[in-house]
């Protein structure tokens, strides 16, 4: 019978057992559950053990969105039960998904229902109107469920509307091994009561009674007391009956094994991108529509000096590494502030920062690197930002503003709500020039106006989406801006990388010749040979892995170098670019 019970829905808690931020310890057929309601109302029913060291999650902390294990602070997400954070390894958590076992959850009749392998739906009770029911206090009984259910068919009670009477007629409307429906009638009062018997274990049950009709105030108390008394008496009788039989052996639920991948201790990450600094998310806030601001404070000591335009690598709890520009103004050295746009086609980086990373979390970050340096010897500096491209330019504009150097910050965005970090941009006064809601054509026209009138010692800095940068760069070229005056930073490299070639790389200073086969990058081959080469985005956008070419013809595939630099043939981004010649000699 209990085998069959696995496929049935059973109540495992009353809805009122899950108040705000509580974790309820439930049990069904010998299996323990951690049951908790998130702030969005979702009811989670999980295997009651942390996958790390088996500690019960029912003693964990429900923070409204995640459940935190008490032992090592592992956090599991509402709904998915996926582990989102392992505090012992804030730097280089493995990109693997540790997910706890979840069980179906349905709320009905004031009860929370679950099942190990549910088939069909939660039982439908004719005559029960949701919201007009009274759930009785749960009565635990040390007896098998079928014994309890059988005894319940003989349960006698007064209808709620005639609680003081004593002559009610009670009829059994339906019954099976796990529930009994009874109707009590006296005079013109009639109450339908359904008693669901939750099989907690082979010899333990909980009676969960539900009555139809709403009762309020003192009458409600009287009804509750009436059933409490009668059910308590029934419990004594059932337990005495059950005690006459030898107790069945407790059920032993099967705990699923974790996947072989999760059973392995992950290796220390070997990607070569170092994250030597530990920071804590001191503040996370909506910096604009779709953009989250993060203030990162060092756990100890001081943060390294940064220059305007610098970025950091952020090593995320899900194992991904992402680059973000530091937005700080000069002298704001107690923390780094970054802005993260939630990307619609996020591969997990921005989603993780938006949805998982929280205030108080520890993150590992790299030292700041500046591959987008700002000249401060210009007569006039123009900054042109598109959307989240504001971040490096914001740091630059604040630096020039602080020195009273002539500059303008043109900030293109869809609307006012998308302008990020208003508290920072507002300090720029009239040099901030927002351009809102422009079509691509209007943007082109606006860029033409901004870039008209090139003169010596004028510089422009561009950061924004690829198409906007292409447009701005070509307009600038058209309007006579030399390449040396046009500085840009792409978010990402959208070029399709061709890595099918094979060639030799000679490292002049290391006296080493390496073969780069198809499918591997120069950077990877150098790392395999033990050369410690810094890198960051590893997609040809940030400029960190730049090397000097002494001999040979590079095959540029990056978006970091400008056309003049490409033509000169003296620089190469080792993470994506390759060789057109059979051999490249690098100054390394």
């Amino acid at each position: 019978m209990l085998d069959l019970a696995k496929s049935r829905w059973h109540p495992i808690a009353a809805a009122h057992d899950l108040p705000l931020r509580h974790v309820f310890h439930g049990q069904l057929l010998g299996r323990e559950f951690a049951v908790w309601r998130a702030d969005d109302g979702y009811v989670n029913i999980w295997e009651n053990r942390c996958l790390h060291r088996g500690v019960r999650l029912s003693i964990g902390i429900n923070d409204g969105r995640e459940l935190k294990c008490q032992y090592h602070g592992w956090r599991y997400s509402n709904r998915t039960a996926g582990c989102t954070y392992i505090p012992a390894h804030p730097a280089d958590a493995p990109a693997r998904t540790i997910t706890n076992r979840t069980f179906a959850a349905v709320e009905r009749y004031g009860l929370v229902w679950s099942a190990e392998e549910p088939q069909g739906e939660v039982p439908e009770v004719a005559g029960f109107a949701e919201g007009e029911l009274l759930a009785l206090r749960a009565i635990p009984v040390n007896a098998p469920a079928d014994v309890v259910a059988a005894r319940l068919t003989g349960y006698r009670f007064q209808p709620s509307g005639y609680i003081d009477g004593s002559a009610a007629k009670v009829a059994v409307e339906a019954s099976n091994a796990f529930s009994v429906a009874l109707r009590s009638s006296e005079a013109d009062a009639s109450t339908l009561a359904v008693f669901f018997v939750q099989p907690v274990d082979s010899n333990r049950s909980v009676i969960r009674g539900v009555l139809d009709g709403e009762v309020e105030g003192a009458a409600r108390l009287a009804v509750l007391r009436h059933h409490n008394e009668l059910l308590s008496r029934l419990r004594v009788a059932v337990e005495a009956e059950a005690a006459r039989e030898p107790a069945p052996a407790p059920l032993e639920p099967i705990i699923e094994r974790v996947s072989p991948e999760l059973a392995e201790m992950p290796e220390e990450t070997t990607h070569g991108r170092k994250a030597t600094i530990r920071v804590q998310v001191a503040r996370k806030w909506p910096a604009a529509d779709g953009i989250a601001g993060f203030e990162l404070r060092p756990i100890k000591g001081l943060l390294p000096t940064f220059q305007p335009g610098a970025h950091i690598d952020v090593h995320l709890p899900n194992g991904l590494i992402r680059q973000y520009s530091i937005t700080n103004g000069p002298g704001e050295s107690d923390s780094y502030v970054i802005g993260v746009k939630l990307e619609r086609d996020s591969k997990g980086g921005s989603t993780c920062l938006h949805e998982t990373v929280r205030e108080g979390d520890v993150l590992a970050i790299s030292e700041p690197r500046n591959n987008f340096p700002l000249r401060r010897d210009a007569l006039q500096t123009l900054f042109i930002a598109g959307g989240i491209g504001i971040t490096p330019l914001l740091a630059m504009a604040q630096a020039l503003n602080n020195q009273s150097l002539n500059h303008e910050l043109h900030y293109f965005a869809q609307n006012e709500a998308q302008l990020a970090f208003p508290e920072k941009t507002s300090t720029l006064g009239a040099s901030l020039k927002p351009h809102l809601g422009l079509t691509p054509e209007q943007t082109g026209a606006q860029l033409r106006e901004i870039l008209s009138g090139y003169g010596p010692d004028k510089h422009v800095y561009l950061c924004g989406p690829g198409p906007m940068l292409e447009a701005a760069r070509s307009i600038a070229a058209e309007m006579g801006w030399p390449e040396t005056a046009v500085h840009f930073e792409y978010f990402k490299n959208t070029n399709v990388i061709d890595d099918s070639t094979s060639f030799e790389v000679a490292l002049a200073r290391s006296c080493m010749t390496l073969t780069v086969p198809a499918g591997k990058t120069i950077l990877e081959v150098m790392r395999d040979a033990g050369i410690d080469m810094p890198s960051s985005c590893e997609q040809g956008a940030c400029g960190t892995c730049l090397a000097t070419v002494i001999e040979g013809e590079p095959d540029h595939q990056d978006v970091y170098l400008n056309d003049a630099e490409r033509k000169s043939g003296t620089k190469i981004m080792t993470c994506v670019s390759r060789a057109k010649s059979a051999r490249l000699v690098l100054d390394l």
């Binding site: 009651n48 090592h72 505090p87 094994r257 992950p266």
Partner: protein, 301 residues
């Protein structure tokens, strides 16, 4: 040979602690349980101790002359505790050389009953990652949650696990410290149910305090944990030093008692390790290799 409830010969042949010698009264029977067997012990007040299987004619709390007790079990007095064995124990108990250093304070910080298997308790003792969460503001504090890379080896000549180069940030490393610092640790597991840790002494930076946990397996899911302190501390009263360790232990107890299953699963796919658990992984493998079955859920073969 007497039939024993425990069938694990590896465990039966070990020395097991029963009580702190200083807490065994002279001439009075003390009752305890080891591996599900009722045992009695008593001292004669001059440093001699006898251990025997409990008998009706020598009731607990009753008087006894230990020289007259027949059929006693092997006894070893070591590190301030009474040890016995239900099998064929080795000649010696594992060494803790520091115990012989004259300037150390040596005391039984506590004997705590815990409803968990001995191996789960050993893993807890080896674990640093829980410091900020379980021993908040004492042995660890958020956001200093990182377990840095450390080394683990199974020492072949000594047949013990050794974890070295362990470091963890502690806001208050012991009773004598008054600020936060990275503390160095060395962990040894020289016995399936015993572990010894060495940590930076706040009193003398060239030396290490020694704290050991000796677990008395009452049954597969219950232990009595005996906690030995062997520390450099000339200032604090015993009760202050003990209270500190008892606080720590009292914080671990509810966590340990909520681990499921209570016996340590040796199947690698039972739980999910991270790199911080290196020493625990080595410990589980070591138990498997030894063929230990008591207090564990052996991996299916």
């Amino acid at each position: 040979m007497t039939e024993t409830r425990c069938k694990d010969q590896v465990i039966l042949d070990l020395w097991h602690p029963l009580a702190a010698l200083s807490e065994v009264p002279a001439g009075v029977v003390v009752g305890t349980i080891l591996l599900e067997e009722r045992l009695s012990l008593a001292s004669d007040g001059t440093g001699k101790v006898a251990v025997w299987r409990s008998r009706r004619d020598l009731p607990v709390d009753g008087p006894v002359d230990i020289t007259a007790v027949e059929g006693t079990l092997p006894v070893k007095l070591a590190y301030g505790y009474v040890w016995t064995s239900l099998g064929n124990p080795p000649a010696d108990i594992f060494p803790i050389p520091e115990y012989a250093e004259a300037d150390r304070r040596k005391l039984n910080a506590a004997t705590f009953g815990v409803n968990v298997s001995a191996p789960r308790a050993i893993e807890n003792f080896l674990d640093m990652g829980h410091f900020p969460y379980v021993h908040t503001d004492i042995l660890g504090a958020e956001p200093h949650t990182e377990v840095k890379e450390y080394d683990v080896e199974i020492s072949v000549d000594r047949d013990e696990i050794l974890a070295t180069r362990c470091r963890f940030f502690q806001p208050m490393a012991s009773t004598t410290s008054d600020g936060g610092a990275d503390v160095d640790y060395i962990y040894r597991v020289p016995h399936p149910y015993c572990s010894v840790l060495y940590k930076s002494s706040p009193m003398d930076e060239t030396r290490l305090d020694v704290i050991a946990v000796f677990l008395q397996p009452v049954d597969q899911e219950h232990v009595r944990a005996h906690m030995l302190l062997c520390v450099l501390d000339e200032d604090n009263e015993d009760k202050v030093i003990k209270r500190f360790q008892q606080t720590i232990f009292g914080q671990d107890k509810p966590i340990l008692e909520n681990q499921f299953p209570k016996r340590l699963p040796l199947d690698p796919r039972a739980e999910t390790p991270i790199r911080a658990d290196k020493s625990a992984i080595a410990y589980r493998r070591w138990l498997s290799q030894k063929g230990v079955t008591y207090g564990v859920i052996p991996a299916a073969t």
